[in-house]
Symmetry: C2
Subunit: 190 residues, 2 copies
Amino acid sequence: MVVTTRRADAQRNITAILTAAAECLSRDPAVSTSEIAKAAGVGRVTLYGHFPSRAELVDAVFVQAIATGEETLGQVDLSGDPRAALTRLIESSWHLVDQYRALLMAAQDALPPGRVRELHADPMARVERLLERGRTEGAFRTDLPTSWLVSVMHNVMHGAATEIQAGRITSDDAAPYITATLLAAFTPPE
Amino acid sequence: MVVTTRRADAQRNITAILTAAAECLSRDPAVSTSEIAKAAGVGRVTLYGHFPSRAELVDAVFVQAIATGEETLGQVDLSGDPRAALTRLIESSWHLVDQYRALLMAAQDALPPGRVRELHADPMARVERLLERGRTEGAFRTDLPTSWLVSVMHNVMHGAATEIQAGRITSDDAAPYITATLLAAFTPPE
DNA sequence: GGTAACTCGTACACTGGTGTTCGACAAGAG
DNA sequence: CTCTTGTCGAACACCAGTGTACGAGTTACC
């Protein structure tokens, strides 16, 4: 929906709504549109003027979050030793997962099923590529499907986010724990 | 709330509501009380006559589910080789996790925070005991906290349930995948 | 400075759930 | 058989959120 002729204040409000929504949804996946509008310093009607429904707003925020994340992940060096590369990738991914945890939940019950996964295609492909390479080089196990390994990685990271939120581990512990766990889990059985 | 003097049909309805709720909540964590009542072959008013609120009903169902699960898990032989014992425990736990997946989600947003974990105390203690023993015997790694290992086990199993629901793995694959993954993840680093 | 684009608050209609009240009726217990 | 306990459906009040309508006011653009 890129409209060339759009007044400057309208564009300003759109980005204000987008950033406010990102922040609000990251705190509480179930925030109302009223609160988002208030946080953006904008009337609720204005919000609906730009986003036809709550779902489309959430979608836009999610798309933006993925794009931002992709920018970060794109800079990670995935060459060289697969295990070292995976460590670097976890280090970067982890912060994103922790940050966008609540947003993901918001997306999951506001967006049509499959949409979340669809938007995750790029980051998932990156992980898959690395894992596949590691498998051919003998660094990662091949007795389980790659898609399963991706899912394990995903779930361990999200589990770590839950543990942090519950105060059972600290944010600093998370990355080393995840790395140690996944490297072991992905190691080929003797 | 064990009332000695309770008419037979009332008791019958209570159990009917409980089992119907268990089934409905296992399909859709957000079912309305109306649908539960209908499934139990009972008026909605009757339901509220026995359970003061939706939350208390969910709680009761959850308590019952935990109790049923404990009965199964209590029969698992956890002696002998810790790795073999863990395999047996996973085999049994897995079915329960898969079965009660949606119910857990219902509990998570209907019950006060912490209540879910409180009710999970017993099954969690069982896992912890086995892991601790395996650690002292050198079968499991000791460079990560036991609580973290428990969390990994929990998240990998729930992740598998998600994969099944999405049709990416079959129900039969799940147990071997989980076992292979967790045994590797818990192995002490050389 | 005129005009089109945009914003705002208030108010409204609608939805879908929860929990309660009522009075008539049925079923179990003694 | 009687009386208490329980059940039923329908109706109601309530709540919180979504999305729309209106009309007056404001802001950017040329």
